[in-house]
């Protein structure tokens, strides 16, 4: 029986600021994992560096907190070596879209069955408030005292053009909606990204809870928005003055795990490597 109580075991006290958007992310993740009945023993949480990276310690499960920007490759190795595991990748906009951006399109095009949750607060929190690749033009920080002169990147468009099979955006101000997104993302077979607008209450005084409420809206699947329609998804990403929240796109193509050539579907890491005869392979050297 998978319960919230189980997910609260083996955790440590949070180091996040009161009011941090990331609390809602952890709460919703736990609820989604419970409702999907994922046992913590079958879960690996990986994380990069940053405030959001600390999240790995706040819910139960195997976890690996790696170096800055490399959570996706780390997770790819974990998942490939044991396909039976659920792998949840946690990070922030700096970790994923700046230092780790080199891995982002590649992890997506491989379409490994990973769920990537980016807690996007449009600023660097842990290093005390520098500019981020998702910061808006003109945004003032300790490293952009005259205002940000670099345009923000659009991770959603990059994900789409890299061939993502599940793309969603959530908001920490609406944990119920977030839980539903996580449930769908984790249940999706293939690479899923949930970019969560998760306000930094200490360093980002522009993109606050209220600001996000004002600047976002919910995609309504009941009255016409079809996330399986790639064209609609692109149109919506390209022509929008407000930030759409919800499942933006859900496609379907084989995962890397499905396509890799193999004789067996046993988890690689758990199969026996003892007592195998390689004489026939050695014969090729004669």
């Amino acid at each position: 029986m998978v319960t919230l109580e189980l997910y609260n075991q083996n955790t440590v006290k949070s180091q996040w600021c009161p009011g941090c958007g990331d609390f809602a992310v952890i709460k919703s993740l736990k609820e989604a994992l419970v409702s999907l009945e994922v046992h913590p023993k079958d879960l690996v949480i990986t994380a990069g560096i940053g405030c959001s990276g600390r999240a790995f310690a706040y819910l139960n499960g195997y976890s690996f907190h790696g170096v800055h920007g490399r959570a996706l490759p780390l997770s790819s190795g974990i998942k490939l070596a044991n396909e039976a595991l659920k792998v949840l990748v946690l990070g922030g906009d700096g970790d994923g879209y700046a230092i780790g951006m080199g891995h982002f399109p590649h992890a997506i095009r491989r379409n490994l069955d990973l769920t990537y949750v980016v807690m996007n607060n449009q600023t660097y929190g842990l290093t005390k408030g520098q500019v981020s690749p998702t910061s808006d033009l003109g945004y003032r920080t300790s490293t952009t005292p005259a205002g940000n002169i670099e345009g923000a990147i659009d991770p959603m468009a990059i994900a789409m053009s890299s061939g993502i099979t599940f793309l969603a955006r959530g908001f920490s101000g609406n944990p119920k909606h977030l839980t539903k997104l996580f449930e769908r993302a984790i249940a999706h077979k293939g690479f899923s990204l949930v970019d969560v607008l998760s306000p930094c209450v200490t360093y980002n005084r522009v993109n606050t809870y209220d600001w996000y409420r004002e600047h976002s809206y919910y995609l309504d699947e009941e009255s016409g928005y079809d996330p399986t329609d790639r064209k609609q998804a692109w149109d919506m990403l390209l022509h929008n003055e407000k930030i759409p929240l919800g499942v933006i796109f859900q496609g379907n193509r084989p995962t890397y795990e499905d396509l890799r050539p193999t004789n067996s579907r046993l988890p690689i890491a758990l199969q026996t490597i003892q007592g195998i005869d390689y004489a026939a392979v050695m014969e090729e050297f004669f």
């Binding site: 690996v44 490399r70 080199g102 050297f285």
Partner: protein, 617 residues
């Protein structure tokens, strides 16, 4: 002359044919040959050298090959040498007996290294060479219009290499019946049909006829010898096969010369064994993927060369501090930066033993020949699992891409030891929650793998306590650093291999080698014994880090002269020895991208040892 080939098995006529090209005025050289095939990249030079090497190996002879190429696909001179002998070979040798030139540039580049009385076979489709001093030096020259024949007579330009191969075999009085070449052609082309086989045989026969018709004599004769079968493989094959046999089932790497051979080998073998090779987007990704796979419990490998290893260094620290087993192969090439990607060097030693921010335990091993490439790779996976730290195998372009005849590996000697992995029962019996980083006397902690219910733990590159939870407590930090480094003390006690000694162990003249230089040093030592009557000993370091201080110190203290032979500028091993033992050694270094040749090393050591011996006498 049109001498008809005799039926196979007719010994007398074979004898007559074999002797046909023999020179009367010089002693016959039997089964001693160094050949070099050269041409433009894209010409199929390596196809020629590979076929010749394999045929001589199958004829019971010993082989040692080298490859020299540039970092481009078409154009530019490339060459491969094949040294053939009856006795064991240690190095690529010196002068050429046979030059096979697929273009005219090859003749110009290498004619000087053809020894007096040697042979040049060249494709004269595009013109003739100026004989110059070749006649005077009694070099036999065979112009073979291989391109022309392939194009005009065979209507298959690609077959020029088979024409050349047939000619080359004939020029050294070998395989008159195409017993070996015919076998090889069948093996390679039968899948394309009997017609293709027949056409290739026709090409080979055309080459043979041209040499026979030239009616020239040579002093070389190659003969079949009976011996148990030997393999012919290069260092990277042995490393890759070693990884497979060790149970490696995950590899992530990024293509890089000269390390890609390992990826390309394992990707063909893995499907049958349910393994996976991922071509990562860069080396940062490659090593992190491998660390992830190892965390899940797979035996994981990442292979690269200098530039890629440099990128992997941050994550090397992650593997060490999270105590994740990981094997890394560095096929060293000329650095720094892009350097000379296809040329050999041994200049990554400092990077491999020190590369990290902060301090980490690691093990560095340098195999020196094909057998060690195999056995040390299987050992590396055991050491990685036992000590839960990175284990680095340092080879180089020369060792990795040099094919050598080798006795079959004794697969029964390979033992797989996964280290301290707890079973579900053992986890259930724990009286306290599982502590992944339990502090123990030997420094080694128990592991659990994801999916084990009682083994759930958190690991982080942040300093941590026994449970894995992060800490900045000074005492906890001190204990954890001590714990991690105490693994190396355990390694010293239980697993470290002292340097290997070759030659006369009582000699007070010591050569120190590491990695691929062993072969040429052994050959030169033999020459010293024969020419100078001087006995040397070789101290070959295989376990390089942690450094075997005591053993090295004991060996070197009794030496009157010590010369460290290595392919780098600063003498990294000589410096390391001085740092670890206080013993000063002479440096014999080379850093031009080519391995030492026996002649040159002999001269350098002679200057160093014999001259100073005379002074001290």
């Amino acid at each position: 002359m049109g001498l008809a080939p005799s039926p196979p098995g007719d010994d007398q006529s074979n004898q007559a044919l074999r002797g046909f090209l023999r020179r009367e005025d010089a002693a016959v050289i039997i089964n001693q040959l160094k050949l070099l095939a050269g041409g433009e990249a894209g010409d199929g030079v390596f196809a020629v050298s590979d076929m010749l090497a394999l045929m001589f190996a199958r004829a019971g002879l010993e082989i040692l090959t080298t490859q020299t190429y540039s970092s481009r696909i078409r154009g530019g001179h490339i060459n491969a040498s094949v040294r053939v002998a009856e006795g064991e070979l240690f190095s690529q040798g010196d002068e050429l007996d046979l030059l096979i030139a697929l273009d005219l540039e090859t003749v110009e580049l290498h004619r000087k290294t053809v020894r007096d009385g040697g042979i040049i076979l060249y494709d004269n489709s595009q013109g003739a060479i100026d004989l110059g001093d070749l006649e005077q030096r009694q070099v036999t020259v065979f112009p073979i219009p291989a391109r022309k024949i392939a194009r005009e007579k065979l209507n298959a330009p690609i077959m020029k290499n088979i024409v050349m191969t047939g000619a080359a075999l004939t020029a050294v009085n070998f395989d008159p019946e195409f017993e070996f070449l015919g076998g090889l052609i069948r093996e390679r082309f039968l899948s394309k049909g009997e017609k293709v086989v027949a056409k290739n045989m026709e090409a080979a026969a055309a080459g043979r006829e041209l040499v026979l018709q030239a009616n020239k004599s040579v002093t070389y004769q190659m003969e079949k010898r009976e011996r148990a079968r030997k393999m012919l493989l290069q260092g990277s094959d042995a490393v890759s096969f070693g990884a497979l046999v060790a149970g490696c089932r995950f590899m992530a790497s990024y293509p890089i010369t000269p390390a890609s051979d390992v990826m390309e080998y394992l990707v063909t073998k893995f499907p049958k064994y349910n393994g996976v090779m991922v071509q990562a987007e860069d080396e940062l990704s490659a090593i992190n993927m491998s660390i992830g796979a190892a965390f899940s419990g797979a035996r994981a490998l990442a292979a690269s060369s200098g530039p890629g290893i440099a990128l992997m260094i941050e994550a090397l620290g992650l593997a060490a501090v999270t105590e994740t087993p990981l094997v890394i192969v560095d096929v060293q090439r000329c650095g720094p930066s892009t350097g000379m990607p296809t040329r050999m060097e041994q200049a990554d030693l400092n990077l491999l033993i020190y590369g990290a921010h902060g301090e980490i335990p690691r093990i560095v091993i340098a195999p020196s020949d094909i057998e060690e490439c195999f056995y040390q790779t299987t050992r590396a996976f055991n050491l990685a699992d036992k000590y839960q730290c990175p284990v680095i195998i340092a080879t180089d372009q020369f060792l990795s891409q040099s094919q050598r005849t080798t006795w079959p590996f004794d697969l029964s000697k390979v033992v797989i030891d996964r280290g301290w992995l707890l079973t579900d029962d053992e986890l259930n019996e724990l009286s306290t929650p599982f502590r992944r980083y339990l502090i123990t006397e030997r420094g080694i902690s128990p592991r659990a793998l994801p999916s084990q219910e009682k083994g759930i733990y958190k690991t982080t590159g942040v300093e941590h306590i026994e449970s894995g939870n992060a800490t900045e407590n000074p005492d906890a930090r001190t204990r954890m650093m001590q714990k991690r480094f105490s693994k190396l003390d355990t390694f010293r006690r239980e697993d470290m291999q002292p340097p290997k000694i070759y030659g006369n162990p009582d000699s007070e003249l010591t050569i120190v080698g590491w990695g691929s230089t062993k072969g040429v040093i052994l050959e030169v030592m033999d020459r010293f014994r024969q020419v100078e009557g001087v006995d040397l000993k070789l101290m070959q370091l295989v376990d390089i880090w942690p450094f075997p201080d005591q053993a090295v110190s004991d060996i070197l203290r009794t030496s009157r002269q010590i010369a460290v032979v290595e392919n780098n500028f600063t003498g990294q091993m000589a410096n390391l020895i001085r740092q670890q033992t206080g013993i000063e050694c002479s440096k014999v270094v080379k850093y031009n991208g080519a391995p030492f040749s026996p002649k040159e090393l002999y001269q350098r050591l002679k200057e160093l040892i014999i001259v100073s011996e005379k002074i001290s006498a």
